[in-house]
Symmetry: C2
Subunit: 378 residues, 2 copies
């Protein structure tokens, strides 16, 4: 194998596939990046066996030569060293050549690295996915949907299925749901699909988090293909594979209350900042819980009290309080996570009593909601 490549493009691709590489693997070859040169260009692959990422660098693009292939071939190089090296090379072009015995030379200006590679034949094959049934979603929308749901997955392995995000596709609509059984995040969107299939799958939260880091914040469409135990995201020159979690995701639809007894509309930022301050003294005591109560004149009072340290009282003027008076306690952290995930300057919170889960929605937006279970303190 031998080729000369634009350094910037190589650096970008290495950074992308590095998202899948971990040093904590039991399969030594997966600490490497696989580099394959064909007459079409160069492909880099990284994998931790849960996530696999493939980035393709074409020989040329818009008339600009990006890679000059001198001899096709393949090699696996230690990801940690290779990524550090390419970042620091001195010139705009890099030559990569595999000599005999897997010895690989990287040349740039007056800098020359000799790395001992691993045999590319031993690198695991990526899943072969038939692309019959695919659907499409814009990159920026996909990123938003991940951001608004994946934080609510469980971090505990006691119910492994809850460490994933439940994706349901039906009637041209994608619903993403995450819950750790104390709170739930839901986001829906219309999608482009060329078939009638419906799906109900669970994608590891970690996979979605890594995916959202490498897709562009543009409306370029991402193709999505779902199989029995894999999901494939296809962007331009990029393939992102994730395994799916096995098992049935709990039916969450009945958790969301249909009616409400108290409905409050409030400015998102003011409310978020008040919750943040009210929780300052509560961070260690009692699991970060604040008390919330409705007052005369549309005022919301948020308080917390940690005996040895002190107490906080915050007042927020709401837009409106409709329905019954309410005193309720909840995790300030869950509330702040939920408020940060919502878009829009105003939110509505619908309560059905101090012991029932409550729902937070942006004003006039039915595609997203956040649900939080209260804490018993009153």
């Amino acid at each position: 194998m031998k080729f000369i490549i634009q350094r910037d493009r190589l650096v970008q691709s290495v950074q992308d596939v590095m998202k899948a590489v971990t040093s904590r693997t039991t399969i030594p070859i997966l600490t490497g990046i696989k580099i394959t040169a064909t007459n079409e260009g160069v492909t880099l692959t990284g994998s931790d066996s849960d996530i696999s990422i493939e980035s393709f660098i074409p020989k040329e693009e818009a008339g600009d030569e990006i890679v000059e292939i001198k001899q096709p071939g393949a090699i696996v190089l230690q990801a940690r060293f290779f990524s550090e090296i390419v970042k620091k090379l001195p010139t705009d072009f890099v030559e990569l050549e595999v000599l005999n015995h897997l010895q690989t030379v990287i040349r740039s200006g007056k800098s020359e690295f000799n790395l001992i590679g691993l045999d590319a034949e031993e690198y695991p094959h990526l899943p072969q996915i038939e692309e019959n049934n695919k659907f499409q979603i814009a990159g920026d929308l996909l990123k938003a949907m991940i951001r608004q749901t994946h934080f609510a997955v469980s971090t505990s392995e006691t119910r492994p299925i809850l460490t994933g995000v439940n994706w349901k596709i039906e009637n041209g609509e994608l619903s993403c749901i995450a819950t750790d059984s104390h709170r739930l995040a839901l986001r829906k969107a219309k999608i482009e699909t060329d078939h009638e299939a419906s799906y109900n799958i669970v994608i590891p939260g970690k996979s979605l988090n890594e995916l959202s880091k490498i897709i562009d914040d543009s409306n370029e469409p991402i193709d999505i293909v779902i199989t029995e135990n894999q999901i494939l995201f296809k962007a331009k020159h990029l393939l992102f594979f994730s395994r799916l979690l096995e098992g049935n995701y709990p039916d969450t639809s009945r958790l969301i209350p249909a009616d409400s007894k108290t409905e409050i509309t409030v400015n998102t930022k003011e409310f978020l900042q008040a919750i943040d301050r009210a929780s300052l003294l509560a961070r260690e005591g009692r699991n970060n819980v604040v008390k919330f109560s409705t007052q005369e004149g549309g005022i919301i009072e948020i308080t917390s009290n940690t005996p040895e340290i002190g107490k906080v009282v915050e007042e927020v003027q709401s837009e409106s309080i409709v329905g019954e008076e309410l005193k309720i306690s909840f995790s300030a952290k869950y509330m702040m996570d939920a408020l940060k995930a919502l878009e829009g300057t105003e939110i509505t919170i619908s309560f059905t009593g101090a012991m029932r889960p409550f729902v937070i929605r942006p004003l006039n937006d039915e595609t997203i909601l956040q649900l939080i279970l209260p804490v018993r303190t009153y």
Copy 2:
């Protein structure tokens, strides 16, 4: 105690004195910030008993009212909570009031905190320092002198005196010297002094590091007063006390070779980047050592070789190589630290053989030098 203060000024002062506060203290009251209100303004104090910082906020400045004192007094508040609170308060002005039993109320807009304070009478007194013998140095020069020397102090407690920077003042010149016995950093500058006294003291590296974070990067003069076991730095509205290290600092003047056998002049940035790359594969093997050798045509070759991983060869075109041929090995980390500390686009390295310490200086600048001991590998 009761006063109303501009939030921005309070936040800045709290941040400054926080540099001296640590949660790892055996004296509980030192986890707090002491707040004293007099008719002149508000003083904040933080201390870990090695370093003490006092920040004064005047009642008014340039006709602008900064603090309105309603009742003088003093209190100590938990630094961690107090600093978080003031940062997040909603309005531009903050009211602070001590009620009975050390209860302290912090009010801002519709936010009200009740903190349980500690008795200010129990806060240790700061050292009383007579200001008879002081000298002056511009803030930006002081910061530069700290930056260029303190990194070379020892991090090991086996010779505690080497964890400090040796300051020598004589004939209107300040010399700062730091060494961990493998390398040495030296920086000199002329200073303003109103007396003939000479000093030879050792200031803890940590103190200087914290000091350099809170002094402005301007040419405003800093007053310095040295006593038996303390040093005081006085900037506008700011006092910074540090204890001095006890013991005699080794005489380092004889370490610096007077003559040289090989002298190399090279572009600082090109050389630094080549060393950085050459060390990429050596970071774990053999203590990050690279080999350096002079070649025909003014070329410097830098190499490293880690058997299981690979090897690197870097070539740098020097401006000049004068004197004997040379092969030498040294720590890439020490060399990079030294090069980053030096100002100037070109440096001269003076070697007196492969086993002797060598000296790095900017071209045409006698006020600063870095010395490194080589490693035996050739």
